[in-house]
Every structure is written in structure tokens, then in C-alpha cells.
Subunit: 809 residues, 2 copies
């Protein structure tokens, strides 16, 4: 372990809560930040209120959320003091929705905003721009988001602030992620499920998360669950999750400042102690981590009432606490009084520059939370060290092409094992309890599953030092990897295909983040979010209907083409090439779909590289059209789809040797779409699929996916797509494809149905195939497994012997 890692957080000299000058700076900063937030919500001009406020200076549409702002500002100001005292490496994650005005105010005050956006300088001109741009056309969103310096967490969809915080500090021993949890957000399932991160956080090699639950009592319209709990019940709640909570409550600023400062001093001391002990002495059991519960009024320091309705401390302070200023002129005056209550003349000089006292609270350079490089993780990203893919590739003789079964994911597991070994601080695999079942357990040769104990004699590959993360929570796996990647490190989330939909909305939000980040010049691209979707629908015959669902593809499809990639490698070597590409990429959301069971192998590593580079191609070895216009194109995307297509082609070539068939395999799904960056042009499309020949398309997922991708391609109605259908009962592997009508038999029947010309033997073959379906139906009900000739089929190149009635099964 390096010296840097052993270095604990240093002790403060004089505690902030006893330092009157520091408390005064904090209060000034807090008032300034509150003032700036109100200005963002209301003003288009006159930022310093140097002239009487006029209605023309009020925005026509009042947008923004005041309720959470004073709390977020209070915390930011106090953290600044602690960062200075302790030289902390800290980032700030604002969980509460729409906390934008607060964070923007703080990063502007500390100067980091103007460094990123020189057109918004730290003076009156910049202040006016800061106000005008907030939630106005061409401006900035109302929540903390991509353009906000210092942010790795968008306060849009609620529930993920703790998962992002934990992900950020894994393998980042010096980093402290302060995560402010709003009491609205705290009600979501994903948030409640994310307190458990401490069971996977090792203080020796990981940083710390400092959760601050900010209870202001209300969500938009009513009470929140946690805010209405007694301190006693809350204490139980957090003790139960493994935390020692510290409570701070009040509505008198001076008292709250002192109490909160003392609380921060204590919890940061505790974090320092935990880390020092772990790093210097070692660790025997999961530490009890500190956290803070902060109770302050909603919309604190805002209008006490508007009209005859109380506002401060009620749900009415949630958004804009006072509107209709044109119709109620007295409210304009009230707004001015409110803003002046912060004494702006004492906070900013006449040029709008923050006063000395405020400037003194800003930490230096990269210690400012808006300038911390971890929050622009692409700056810190180191490319992964890869070994030669030949180390993992499946090697086979030409004669064995399509004739040997190997579990493809096992090779990926070996590849990731070496990624773990060669990148000991920069790569992690996340998986909800399925690493072994997914055949990725080669990684356990070099690392354990992480858990902070206690341990049991029957545990296997489970230790505090483990760096593989297995938790039965897709939300945690996904959020942790997002946090890990947003701070510049690499990883993969291996999920049960069907249950990836659990985090549909998280993937959607992350895609939006990546999309938005492309437009923010100073954001360095972060490593891609890599998904492995395995245990796929086609082999979930035994787990049944609930475990079948390829819908994550549909979810990704509608995201911006610039950031979404979907790969369906048919075998081990294409999987390796695709994975290598994904691990090397930045700024994408990559989904790789492949099953975990042994599979036929079709491509050598060199062929796989070419195939993946092209994204889709004709497989000459399986086709017999000799470059001419085939009678029919048999296309496939997905491992089982490829296997069944090849078996169908094998049948067709055996029984109808004069038929001319072309096999097209698609590994990069987005090549089909006209307006995707990977989309092939129309000439290439025609080269592959012809302009008018029937295409039987076997697709891994829902067939509507292909229908939408090929819109705009020539004569789309000749594409006959078979994919997964929602038809569930208990069955066998091959029967899955039969029931779903994507079996070799259905695909062969399709080819015969859409054949553009009469062929001798076709009628007989149709009869035989239909009889075979019936025989299969009877057979599996008797034997509980597929006919051997079906289950053990391998590529013959037109020498197949169908197990029709009378023949062997």
C-alpha cells in the first residue's frame, strides 16, 4: 500500500465551532449563497438591488425550488471550513431535487464557476448572468446537473445519491463524498436500499461517505416519513443500517452554525479515526460510520407567510415561495425586503465581488468542491491495461467451425481476471449475486467478493479485501458503477438480462448525463457504462416466464444514438473483441448481450476482430450464394438467434441443395439504423440484404426492435422478423425457441414460406418440419429434455439428418 493511501485525514488545529471568525465567514457565505439563489429564481437584472426593485426585473416565468436551498447552502459553507482546516479531498453530492440554485451559488462564490464559464465572472456582471441564465431558454437547468462544476450527481430523478457517493469513493482512499439526502428522496426504495453501502466499504483502501440527511419536513405537498419520525426512531433506523447518527436541529442561525460545526468536527474526526486505525493497525470488523441528521425549516429565512398562508417551514416553501408579483405589487416589495434581509451590501462590494470574509472561506484551487478533479473524472481516467486477447480466445480447427461448445462468458471472466490483476485500483466488476452462475468466476482467482463481515466458516471467496462487488440489488450495482465511472474508473455490471429492467430509469438518466456531457466543453469523457446482459431469455426455460425479458434493448434504443451501443456477440471471440472495445471506450453506454451456457463457436479471433469492426457481415462459410443474388437472406443477431439460423440453414441446404441462401450475422445492432453513427449506408445495406429478396431475421430480443431499426431501409416489409415473444410456460431450451417461434424449424419454414421460387422437395420438407414440431412436443413431455439430435446439433454444412418420425430422436 502506498504512502498516500496510508495517510489519514489530518486533525484540525482549532475546531470550527470555537472559531468565531470562521463562524462569521460561514454565516456570511451562507447569507450570500441564499441571496444568490433567490436572485436566480426571481431576477433578470439589478442583481445587487442597488436601485429599487422594479417589476420589469422579475422573470416572467418563476421557476426553481427554494425549499431545500438554505440547507444545501448551510452544508456547503460549513464543509468549506472543514476542508480548509483539514485539507480535505471532498466532493459534494446534492440529493434533493432541484437544488440547482444552491449549488450554482456556491460554486460561483468560490470562483470555480467563473473559471469554467468566463462569461459569468465573479462580479456584478457575472451575477446578473448567473441570475438570468437560471432555468431560462438557453440557460441552465433548475437542478444540479452536468454543467454544474463539481457535480457527479444530477438532482433529477431521486434515489441514487448514496449509491453514487459509495461508487465514487471505492478505491479512492483520500476522497470523502458528502452526500446530502433529502427527506423526499429518502422515501424512495433505491435510496433506502443504498444505506447498506457501508457493508462493502473498506476504510483501508476506500474513501469515506459522509451522509447528511436533511429533514425539512415536507415534500411538495405533504409530510415526509423520516421527518415525522422521532429522533429515537431515527436513531434506531440508522443504528440498524450501521451508522452512528448525530442530530442537529434548529431555526436560529447562530445556534445551528455552532451545533452543525461541532457535529461536522466530530464526524470528520470519527472518519479520520476509522481510517487511521484501519490503515495503521488493520481492521477486524465493519466500522460504525458517522452520519448527520440535520433538521431545519423548509425555506428557512424565506417569507414567513404570503397572503394569510404560512410559508417558511411548510410545504408551501417547496418551490417558488411567492409568485404573482405583477398582480400583487406588495409582494414585489416583500421580495426586495427578503433579499435585503441578507444585507447584500455587506456581502458583495459595489462591483458585486464577494467580500474578503467570504473569499477567505473558499478552499484553495482543487480543494474547492466545484473544482475537485474527482468530479470531472475523465481528467483522472487512466486507460485500462489489457493483455493480448489471444490469451483468452477460443482456438479451433477450420473443420471444427460451428462444431464445438464452449461457455463464452468463461473467456470474458478470464479476461476480467487479468484486468483485475493488472489494474488493481481502476477496475471493478459489479453483479447481483450471480458471478459464479454467470461463469465469470475466474475473477475470484485474483480477488474476493467484498464484504465487511462478520464471516462464516462456509463463506467462499468473501473478504474485506475483495474488490468484486456482489449485492442483491441492481440499484446498488448500477449506482456504484456509475459513481465509479463518473470519477474516472472502469467497470462492468453483469446483470441477469431480464432484471436489467429494474434499473431502466437509472440507465436512461445516465444516458442523458452522457448526452449532456458531450455539450459541456470542460467535461472530460468518463469511462463507458458497460452492461453484460446474461442469463438471457432464451435459456431461462427452467426459471420461467418472470426471468425472460430482453426489454433493456428497447429502453436503450430511444436514447441519443451518440451515446448508446448494443452488441450481440454470437460466440466467445466476438465477445472478447466487443468487451475489449467497450472497456477501451469512453462516454458510451454499452450493452453486451450473451448467454452463459456453452455455445457453438464460429469465429477465430482474427475473424472476430474484422466482424466486430464491420458490425455485421455476410458469413460466407455458412452461405451458398457464391456472391450472387441469393434466393433468401437468413439474418441473425444474438447467440441463440445465430445458432438457430445456422441450424435452419443447415436443414435447408441439406434438403434443398439448389436453394441459394445467404447468412448475415449482426453483432453491432446499431449498424441497422439509418441515422446512427454506426449505421451503414444504403449501398452497404443493399450489398448485405439485397434490395428486394426476402429476409428471414432471427433476433434475440423483441421483433419490434428490428422493425423500428430498419425503418427507412429499402422495402422493409420483406423483412420477416422473429424474436422473443411474451409466451411463458415451463419448457426445455429448444422448446423455448419453438414456443417463441424462433426455432430452427420455424426459421426454415419461414424461408420456405417466403421463397421467391418453387423448389423441388420444398413441400415434403414443410411436412417433415411440421411433423417434427409435433414429435418434439410429445418427446419433451415424456423425456423432460430435448431430443439429442436437436440438443447436440452442430454445423454440418448441409449434411444434417433430421430426427423425423421413424428416425432417431
Amino acid at each position: 500500500m502506498s504512502e498516500a493511501i496510508k495517510q489519514p485525514v489530518t486533525e484540525p488545529v482549532l475546531p470550527v465551532e470555537k472559531d468565531e471568525e470562521m463562524l462569521a465567514r460561514i454565516d456570511a457565505w451562507w447569507r450570500a449563497a441564499n441571496y444568490l439563489a433567490i436572485g436566480q429564481i426571481y431576477l433578470t437584472d439589478n442583481p445587487l438591488l442597488q436601485t429599487p426593485l422594479a417589476i420589469e426585473q422579475i422573470k416572467p416565468r418563476l421557476l426553481g425550488h427554494w425549499g431545500t436551498v438554505p440547507g444545501l447552502n448551510l452544508i456547503y459553507a460549513h464543509l468549506n471550513a472543514q476542508i480548509q482546516r483539514r485539507d480535505l479531498d471532498m466532493i459534494y453530492l446534492a440529493g434533493p431535487g432541484h437544488g440547482g440554485p444552491a449549488l450554482l451559488a456556491n460554486v460561483w462564490l468560490e470562483g470555480s464557476y467563473s473559471e469554467r464559464y468566463p462569461h459569468v465572472p465573479r462580479d456584478a456582471k457575472g451575477m446578473k448572468q448567473l441570475f438570468r441564465q437560471f432555468s431560462t431558454p438557453g440557460g441552465v437547468p433548475s437542478h444540479v446537473s452536468v454543467p454544474t462544476p463539481g457535480s457527479i450527481h444530477e438532482g433529477g430523478e431521486l434515489g441514487y445519491v448514496l449509491t453514487h457517493a459509495f461508487g465514487a469513493v471505492f478505491d479512492n482512499p483520500t476522497l470523502i463524498a458528502t452526500a446530502v439526502v433529502g427527506d423526499g428522496e429518502a422515501e424512495t426504495g433505491p435510496l433506502e436500499g443504498s444505506w447498506k453501502g457501508v457493508n462493502y466499504l473498506n476504510p483501508t483502501r476506500d474513501g469515506a461517505v459522509l451522509p447528511i440527511l436533511h429533514l425539512n419536513g415536507y415534500k411538495i405537498g405533504s409530510a415526509t416519513v423520516l421527518a415525522r419520525k422521532s429522533d429515537e426512531e431515527l436513531n434506531h433506523y440508522f443504528r440498524g443500517h450501521g451508522y452512528a447518527p448525530r442530530f442537529v436541529e434548529g431555526d436560529d442561525p447562530a445556534a445551528v452554525h455552532r451545533e452543525f460545526a461541532a457535529a461536522l468536527t466530530d464526524v470528520l474526526d470519527e472518519i479520520a479515526t476509522i481510517q487511521r486505525q484501519a490503515r495503521e493497525i488493520g481492521i477486524e470488523k465493519r466500522p460504525i460510520w458517522p452520519m448527520i441528521v440535520l433538521r431545519t425549516p423548509k425555506g428557512w429565512t424565506g417569507p414567513k407567510s404570503v397572503g394569510d398562508m404560512p410559508v417558511e417551514g411548510t410545504f408551501r416553501a417547496h418551490q417558488v415561495p411567492m409568485s404573482g408579483l405583477s398582480e400583487h405589487p406588495e409582494r414585489l416589495a416583500k421580495l426586495e425586503t427578503w433579499m435585503k434581509s441578507y444585507a447584500p451590501e455587506s456581502l458583495f462590494d459595489t462591483d458585486g465581488v464577494p467580500c474578503e470574509r467570504i473569499q477567505q472561506l473558499a478552499p484553495r484551487a482543487e480543494r474547492r468542491m466545484g473544482a475537485n478533479p474527482h468530479a470531472n473524472g475523465g481528467e483522472l481516467t487512466k486507460p485500462l491495461i489489457h493483455r493480448d486477447l489471444h490469451d483468452y480466445a477460443v482456438v479451433f480447427e477450420e473443420s471444427q467451425r460451428g462444431r464445438e461448445f464452449h461457455p463464452s462468458t468463461e473467456r470474458l471472466g478470464q479476461y476480467m481476471r487479468d484486468l483485475y490483476a493488472d489494474n488493481p485500483h481502476d477496475f471493478r466488476l459489479f453483479c447481483p449475486d450471480e458471478i459464479k452462475s454467470n461463469k465469470l468466476d475466474a475473477v475470484l482467482e485474483v480477488t474476493d467478493r467484498c464484504f465487511m463481515g462478520p464471516f462464516d466458516e462456509n463463506d467462499e471467496k468473501l473478504s474485506m479485501d475483495g474488490r468484486m462487488l456482489e449485492v442483491l440489488s441492481e440499484h446498488n450495482c448500477n449506482g456504484w458503477l456509475e459513481g465509479y465511472a463518473l470519477t474516472g474508473r472502469h467497470g462492468l455490471f453483469a446483470s441477469y438480462e431480464a432484471f436489467t429492467s429494474i434499473i431502466d430509469s437509472m440507465a436512461i438518466q445516465h444516458a442523458k448525463w452522457l448526452e449532456h456531457a458531450r455539450d459541456v466543453a470542460w467535461r472530460a469523457s468518463v469511462p463507458s457504462m458497460n452492461y453484460l446482459l446474461t442469463s438471457t431469455c432464451w435459456r431461462n426455460d427452467h426459471n420461467g416466464f418472470s426471468h425472460q425479458g430482453p426489454g433493456f434493448i428497447d429502453t436503450l434504443l430511444s436514447k441519443q444514438p451518440a451515446v448508446v451501443r448494443i452488441y450481440l456477440p454470437p460466440d466467445a471471440n466476438t465477445l472478447l473483441c466487443v468487451a475489449h472495445h467497450c472497456f477501451d471506450s469512453v462516454g458510451y453506454l454499452n450493452a453486451i448481450v450473451i448467454d452463459k451456457h456453452p455455445q457453438l463457436q464460429y469465429t477465430t479471433l482474427e475473424e472476430a476482430r474484422d466482424h466486430c469492426r464491420r458490425g455485421l457481415d455476410i458469413w460466407d462459410w455458412a452461405s451458398n450464394d457464391q456472391g450472387g443474388e441469393p434466393d433468401i437472406v437468413m439474418a441473425c443477431a444474438g447467440d441463440i438467434a445465430t445458432q438457430e439460423t445456422l441450424a435452419a440453414v443447415d436443414i435447408l441446404r441439406t434438403y434443398l441443395p439448389s436453394l441459394s441462401v445467404r447468412v448475415v450475422n449482426v453483432v453491432d445492432l446499431m449498424t441497422l439504423q439509418v441515422d446512427h453513427p454506426h449505421g451503414i449506408d444504403q449501398a452497404r445495406f443493399v450489398e448485405l440484404f439485397t434490395a428486394s429478396r426476402p429476409v428471414v431475421f432471427a433476433f434475440h430480443g423483441f421483433r419490434g426492435v428490428v422493425h423500428q431499426l430498419i425503418h427507412g431501409r429499402p422495402d422493409t416489409n420483406r423483412f420477416h422478423v422473429r424474436g422473443y415473444r411474451e409466451e411463458g410456460t415451463t419448457t426445455t431450451p429448444f422448446d423455448m425457441t419453438v414456443r417463441n417461434q424462433m426455432s430452427r424449424i420455424h426459421l426454415a419454414l419461414d424461408a420456405l414460406r417466403y421463397l421467391p421460387r418453387q423448389l423441388e422437395g420444398a413441400t415434403r420438407l414443410i411436412d417433415d418440419l411440421q411433423a417434427l414440431l409435433e414429435k418434439h412436443h410429445r418427446y419433451i413431455r415424456e423425456h423432460f429434455d430435448d431430443m439429442p439430435a436437436i440438443a447436440n446439433w452442430t454445423w454440418t454444412g448441409g449434411l444434417i439428418r433430421l430426427p423425423v418420425d421413424g428416425g432417431e430422436p
Copy 2:
């Protein structure tokens, strides 16, 4: 309140834990259920082991999960005793994944299985069939699911057992839902977020949930978080959530039986006391509900070890604890010894009929948990009482068509207000903290938001008696409504459109349930799952990119057409008709998409009824093709899409009077799909869209949705679809449509671009429209709002005056 509701759970006469005969029955039942579960996993024949077990009697594919079985069986047996003693109205929700063999064993033992499935009688023949059918082709799934009598909860995707349990007991005062939570499932976010149900459960009018956390220590491959917590930390955890936990732990069956019986006696007494006090005296604060933590070994009573590896009590007992019986003949003997360890000869007579002692433990008739009518909720469903829709309809003069703004959802709120009033025990609205913002707050005239306190003087419409459920958790809203509907009651989940994706996977699983239920003859159809998707992408200009997402439509699209319905009403009266239809329907998953802001109104109630019945139609009043073949078809689906299309048509008709335009409005999206039950035939499709004219299609969601729906329709490439694109920045309402290229201006430009003939004035109009886009861009950046002529546009029928340069804005 009716007498029936006041009736508390009755006290037991002799506690089970002191009744030796009852304990003996429980133990016999438990052993029998364990035996039957193992038989399901392993055997094809010889169910009573009356002859030596032979390898041919072993299933070729060993599937199923043994680990959780003994615990599930233990609980079931003990609940039977309590049901008998107290005449409880109870259902059993099995949270642990793949608990199928256990529940199937129990319902077979109690006889309810054979009543539903006469071909599986309660004798040796039936037992053989019970074994053979488990997880084999044409048989039953490995988890508790739709065909399992007594089930309303599928143990497939984990995390929802408590939400379903709470939903089931809302407004069901006599019902107790016992929810077994597995320690794997307990790690998921949705499950952790669902303990909070007690904050919304009123013991006066609701039933009770009895959570039993079953800790067996491991998930598939490693430790679980909760199982490794000390009892002290677990006690904190549950106290924090508002429960009083009772701990039972052990591996000696006799001792565990006695302890668990005593625990059940106590917690059921506590539930009875809470309910009696609430119903007889009243309630002042949220009760502390009891729950049980049960720690028993994983795969308890199974093989201690296999080979040299320990199995019982370890993660190796998770699935099939012993396989490879053909290769390891000694394992066959071991299996036989294991099964015989339960002394089957003492549990079943030689005909396989359960012994008298076991039969005596089965509750009578509908008290058996496999026969409880709440678990086949369609049997209990009463149709909702509706008032005449005229009470809520928007009425306008013919001259005002398309010229008045009304918030459509307000009318739906009034409609639901009366549903609440007229159906005081059968209807509920679920919403994550947005009821007022969604303009549905008319319901608060007749009911409050439910909360169990404590209360604050600033609370508004918040009380224990409230029956509207508002919690900032989409998972809870969705799961509660599922539980409510599966037990036969009606409701609606009003969600922020973008955040509906949070429960994508829950909707997918519920769709699968409904799909599967169609094939199970005895399942009576349950009320539909109704979604209102509001605060839609098109009016989330101010909330920004993260709040925009119409992807739930994409998720639903791939589900079985038989159960999925997607409606896009363009105005209030179509919304009312669609909602009425959805509330009256059973067995569907209905999604209604409409925004909450004031909207133009196009249809009278009578017209709306016709329009919704047809699903899509030509709007003659907006078209000028006089029944002939138009130059262009302007199609639209969705409220903003309709508004922008009509405004585009208004422009086109004003400036190009010789142009022939047809407007087609789509309210029932699935009418477009060829193979959907609502899909129109090709002749009707051509009647509406012509066979070859260009169609400019404005769609609410992602355009790929329309691309996939129209696959197979004539000449699809003439459809030019505009929909929501992932393009986010801060903007204004109209600018949202401009940026997304679905504004009236882009739609009009499209019409001009694809026009099949030259028209005088077209070139000039193109120039004007493009200039208008630029003017608009400048205008909103200066004024922070749309040009009045744009924002206030209403239908003119070809008399529009464009705010081109020089003209008014």
C-alpha cells in the same frame, strides 16, 4: 363503519405452543411438505418410495431451489394452526425466489390444489403428477406464480412482497397478509423501501401485514447483509422502521416449533390488540406493529454434506443441493435416505393420502390459504359505480372548437372525486407526491391523503382517515396498487411520465402475470392496472432534461398485445371516455398519457365517445380534403402532438389554400399495429392514411414506436414521424417542440418537403417559417417566454396570422 369491520381478530383458546397435539400436527405437516418439495425437485416416479429408488426415476434436468423450502414450509404449517385457532382470514405471500416447491407442497396437502387441478388429486397418483409437472415441459414454474392457488405474488423478480401485502390489506379490515421476506430479497432497494407501509396503514379500516423475515444466511453464492447483522442491529433496524421485532432462531425442529408457535401467538395477539383498540376505542398514533425474524439453516434437514463439501446451512443448499446422481451412484442412495428421513410412511397412507394428523391441520374451506378468495381477487371484484360523464365533460360551442383552454386532468380529478365518494371501499388513487401539481386534487374534497402521523399544524388534507395514497416512491405506489387490484379492487397510479420508468420492471412483471392468468381457467380477471402518465416530456421545459422521458410506452409495447393498452387522449372529453373504459376493464395494463396543463378542447363528449370507440379517425372539421384523396395526411397521437399538428394545418390552410390536407388523430395507439386485438385491418388503414400519400406523423413519444407499430402496413417509408428526441436544455414550452423538431413549424415544413406536387406560395412559406424559427430563437432568449402569437394560438381554420418579422410577436 359496519359491524364486520369492527370485529377484531378473536383470541385463541389454548396457545399453539402449549398444545402438544397441535405441535405434532405441525411437525408432521412440515415433514410432509419438505418431502413433497424434494420429490418435486428430483422424482418422476415412485413418489412414496415404496420400491428402491432407481436412477430412471430421477429427472434428467434437476431444477428447483431447496434452500428456502424448509423455512417456507415451517411458516405455512404454523400459520395453519393459528388460522384454525383464531379463524383467521389470511393469505401467504412468499417473497423468497423460487419457493415454488414449498407452496405447491402445502396447497396440495391442504387439498386446495386438487380442487383447482383435479388431475392432481391428493393421493399417490396426484403426488406423482405433482412431482412430474414441477419445472418440466408443459408443467409449472419453479417459483410461486399465477397457477399456484392462494398466490397474488410471484417469487420471480425480487423486492415487492411487502408492497403487495400492504396493497392487499388496504380497505380489507379482516385480512392478514403474511409476507415472508427472504434475506436475499431484503437486500433490494424496493424491499427496503417498502417497510414504510405501516405509515399508511390504518388499523381501523385496513387489515394487517405480518412480515416474517426469514434469514437463512446466504443468497446464491455469498452472505446476505441482514443475516450477518447482530440481533441488536436488526432490532434497531426494525424499530427504526416502526416495528417491534420478535426473534426466533434454531436448528432443532422441536425447539423451533415451540418458539415459533409462541412467537406467532404473541404477534397475532398484538395485531388483534392493535385492531381492537383502534376499532373500539379509536387511534391516536401510528401503532408499533409486530414482525418476526426467523433464523434457520439454509436447506435445513437437507444433506449435511455432499462429497467433502458442507451443504446444509451453507450457500450450497441454495438450489439443488445434490446433483450428478448418474455419475455418483452413492448420491442416489443418499437422496433416498434423505427423503426417508421424513418417515413418509407415517405421513401418507399407502395410497399417498396425507395422514389424519396432517389433514386435521388444514383449515376449513376458504380459510385454507390456497383457497382464500382474496388471492383470486377477481371473484370479489365489484364493478365501480360511475356517474354520468356529462357531470365532468367540457362543454363548448361549435364555434369554440379548438379555441378554449382547459386543464383536462382537472376533469379526471372531479371524476375520481366521485369514484371515491361512491366506492368508499373499492377505489384508491396512488401518486408520488404530485396529486395537486397534476391537478387531480378534486379528490381531496372527499378524502385526505393518508398518513399515520404525527401531524403538524401546517399539514393540509393529511389524516389517518385519508384514503388517497401519496408516497415519494414509485415502487410503493405501483406495488400497492398491484396488491389492491390483485385482491379485486380498483385504482389508478398517477405518475410523472418520465419517472414511470422507475417501475418498468414491475409493470413488465405484472403484464406477465396478467398474460399468464389468461391461461389459468380458475383465475377470475382482476381490475386493470391503470397508469396515468402526466407531467409529460413536452411541458417539462422548466424541469429540464432529466424530467423528460416517454419511454414507458416503449416498455409496454413489447408486452403481449392481449393485455396492453396505450391511450393518448388529446383533450378532456377523450380523457374522460378513456378513463371510464379503463376503470371498467379487467385484466389489462392501461396507460393513459396526457399533460396537466391547460389544453385546447376539440371534441364534445359524444364525439369523444365515438372517437375513443374507433381508436383513431379522420378529423373532418380540421381537414379540407372533402373525402377525396388528400395531398398529404397530417397524423397525430398525443395532446401536444395534436395541438402542434392542428396549428401546422392552420398555417398550411392559411397560406396554401389549394392544398388538400387530411388530419388523422390517434387516441388508441395499438390500433396501428397489424396483429394487436385493437389493430385496424389494412382496408381501414388505407381508408385513413391512403395507400401512398405522404404522412407526416406527430407522435408524443419516441418516433421508433410508430416505426415499429406500422411495420407491415402499406409503403411505410412514406411515414415521416416526428417524436420526442433526447435533446435537453432549458427552454420554453414551444421551444421544447422546436428543439425536438415536433413544433407546428417543423411539421408544416415537413408537409411542404414531402408534398407530392408544386404549389404556389410554398417556397415563400418555407422561407417565412424558417425565418420564424430564428425569430423565435432570439425572442425567447430576450423575453424568457414564447411569443404570444405562438403561446396563445387557437384554431382558426385557415385564418392564422404568422408572427413573421415585422409583424407582432
